[in-house]
């Protein structure tokens, strides 16, 4: 490239990067972390945790749930953390991804009454699309729905926006719950749930396949998030968040960028929902009610709003708690509530900010100073 990256006066145009490997810190750490996650099914180094023992189906399934929740939270992070838009339709769009891919990729209804029972038929019938055709179609459809809904929502602020989008999320779940008698083309099987046909990669076991599907969803949303937020879109969304009244006179349409954020968030929610459904193998409308939304918000806030690794850390925390406290659901909510309060009080930037907090603490600075003085002595 012939383009120089300093101004005529010799000032660097891009922020100076630290020397050596540190200049690629994000790239190296992400590749390393995702590489470790990719080999976990064969090297279950997290076996000691029990919940995340990827050597067995239970642990691999839990890990896949972590990835799916994290992928959904990455998109949520873009919407809430970057554009400052509290759009709460995320759980509904997650459901759209789960149900959409399940129904589109399920085999067409069997008409031979001798070989298939009616109950099974309704719960597993669909349109017989190939999975990798159904997935992008559903994600793009979700993004379009997100944008269309965003139109009225982008004019609202704060609580009004939250309520309006919450209602939309619930509406999607309510449509899914409609009886076949109302709209048979949907094939959602009403409130009783739907079996999900599992896509299997190259003869991998269903659980391992779902594991990679979820990991893939996380990697895709993660890469998109990193690329877009560190460039022009990131600063434009921040401008919409922080200087809203001034965006017009700067030449930025706040409405347009809110819609972009809605669309991207909806896309990620649907993608994550599809991966989630692959892992759970069965979807039911009750899985996607407001409770899922609250969980996603917890994942986001406990992990760290606007932080790169926040969603993954938050999702690990959340799934771990959920599995450990599976038998006592009430205790789960209590502990999650306490965790949320403590995080907001002690670590307002979430668990992902912990390394920075430790590095900047007086204790760590003192320690570094001592090490330096020891090293300097002859």
């Amino acid at each position: 490239m012939a383009v120089t990256e300093t101004s005529a006066s010799g000032h660097p145009l891009y922020p100076p990067k630290p020397a050596g490997w540190r200049s690629h810190k994000t790239l190296i750490s992400s590749v390393a972390i995702f590489a470790v996650l990719a080999i976990l099914p064969w090297f279950p180094v997290l076996a000691f945790t029990g919940t995340f023992d990827t050597g067995n189906d239970f642990g691999a399934g839990n890990m896949a749930f972590v990835f799916a929740y994290a992928a959904a939270a990455v998109g949520f992070n873009l919407l809430v953390g970057y554009s400052g838009t509290l759009g709460l339709a995320h759980a509904g769009l997650f459901a759209l991804g789960a149900y959409g891919t399940a129904i589109l990729s399920a085999p067409p209804e069997c008409l031979d009454f001798d070989t298939c029972e009616p109950v099974v038929r309704a719960a597993s019938a669909g349109y017989g699309w190939p999975f990798f055709l159904a997935l992008p179609v559903v994600c793009i459809a979700a993004a379009i729905i997100g944008i269309v809904v965003g139109f009225p929502a982008a004019r609202l602020k704060g609580f009004f926006l939250a309520i309006a989008t919450l209602a939309l999320g619930e509406l999607i779940v309510t449509i899914i719950r409609l009886d076949d008698a109302v709209w048979s083309g949907l094939k959602t099987n009403g409130g009783t749930g739907k079996q999900v046909p599992i896509f299997q990669f190259f003869g991998l076991r269903p659980v391992t396949s779902a594991y990679f599907m979820a990991l893939g969803a996380l990697v895709i949303t993660f890469i998109g998030y990193v690329i877009l937020t560190e460039r022009r879109l990131g600063r434009t969304l921040k401008a919409v968040r922080d200087t809203e009244i001034a965006t017009g006179p700067i030449g930025i349409s706040a409405t347009y960028y809110k819609l972009v954020a809605f669309g991207l968030a909806a896309f990620s929610a649907a993608l994550a929902g599809a991966a989630w459904a692959q892992n759970s193998a069965f979807v039911n409308p009750s899985s996607f009610r407001t409770r899922l939304l609250v969980f996603l918000l917890v994942v986001l806030i406990v992990g760290g709003l606007g932080r790169l690794w926040g969603p993954l850390i938050g999702a690990v925390f959340f799934v771990f708690l959920r599995q450990e406290l599976q038998d006592t659901q009430k205790l789960l909510f209590l502990l999650i509530g306490i965790a949320l309060i403590l995080t907001v009080l002690i670590l307002p930037d979430g668990f992902a900010s912990l390394p920075d907090r430790i590095r900047d603490s007086r204790w760590a600075q003192d320690l570094r100073r001592r090490f330096k003085s020891v090293a300097v002595k002859p």
């Binding site: 005529a8 690329i227 009244i245 006179p249 030449g251």
Partner: protein, 265 residues
Amino acid sequence: MSGAPPPLELDDLHVAFGGNRVLEGVDLQFGLGFNGLIGPNGAGKTTVFNVLSGYVKPTSGAVLKAGESLSGLSQTDRVKAGISRTFQSPKLILDATVMENTLLGRHHLFKWGHLAELLLLPQQRNEETEARRICMEMLDRFGLADDAHKETGDLSLGAQKIVEVCRALVADPQVVLLDEPAAGLGADDVTVLLAGLRELVAAREICVVIIEHDLELVTTMCPEISVLHFGRIISQGTPAEVTSDPTVIEAYLGAGFELSDEAAT
């Protein structure tokens, strides 16, 4: 009067918020170079800017830029048409760098979209680099080049106001509206700001409108000053004409104001 229409013209502008009449028939023409807009608090100065940038819709009357009406244009369209502005209190992203905040001013000039960004196209990167070069030159002009990669929130309020001026200027505007650019600035900052603005006005054909309470600044900078009082223009002319106008003295200046030597010449 020459044949070419003035860069910016306000034609019988009325603005009312409910029963509160803020502007009552403002007729103004702003020429190339510096124009001052002064008046007591609540006179409607910022409302004039808000009308020009499209934030407030006038009850009646029109705004003409180089003879063409701006009515019906959205706020973003007006930026594309070459009008940019600053705010009384800076509206910046405090946790973004000075460079990023300045780059926002060039947002509407980018040709490559966000999809190109996602695909990491080199053309998009080159465009970004060029935009950064233009922003860096502007920051350098206003003495902020060394702070370009600092977080904006770490800068003093005065420096933040200058960042906002830079953001308005990198948009390649023909009309720049500066709302109290020198308020809250230290003496050094004001010197840098004015020197930078003068340099720019000498280099480009732009119309700069300054709202300012610092009369010495306005009278030294602006060959043409308009005085707004209760939504009406009560005086317009050179600094000497305006400051000796009895209605202006009564409404705004008070007795005893004298032009500095620099402005009088």
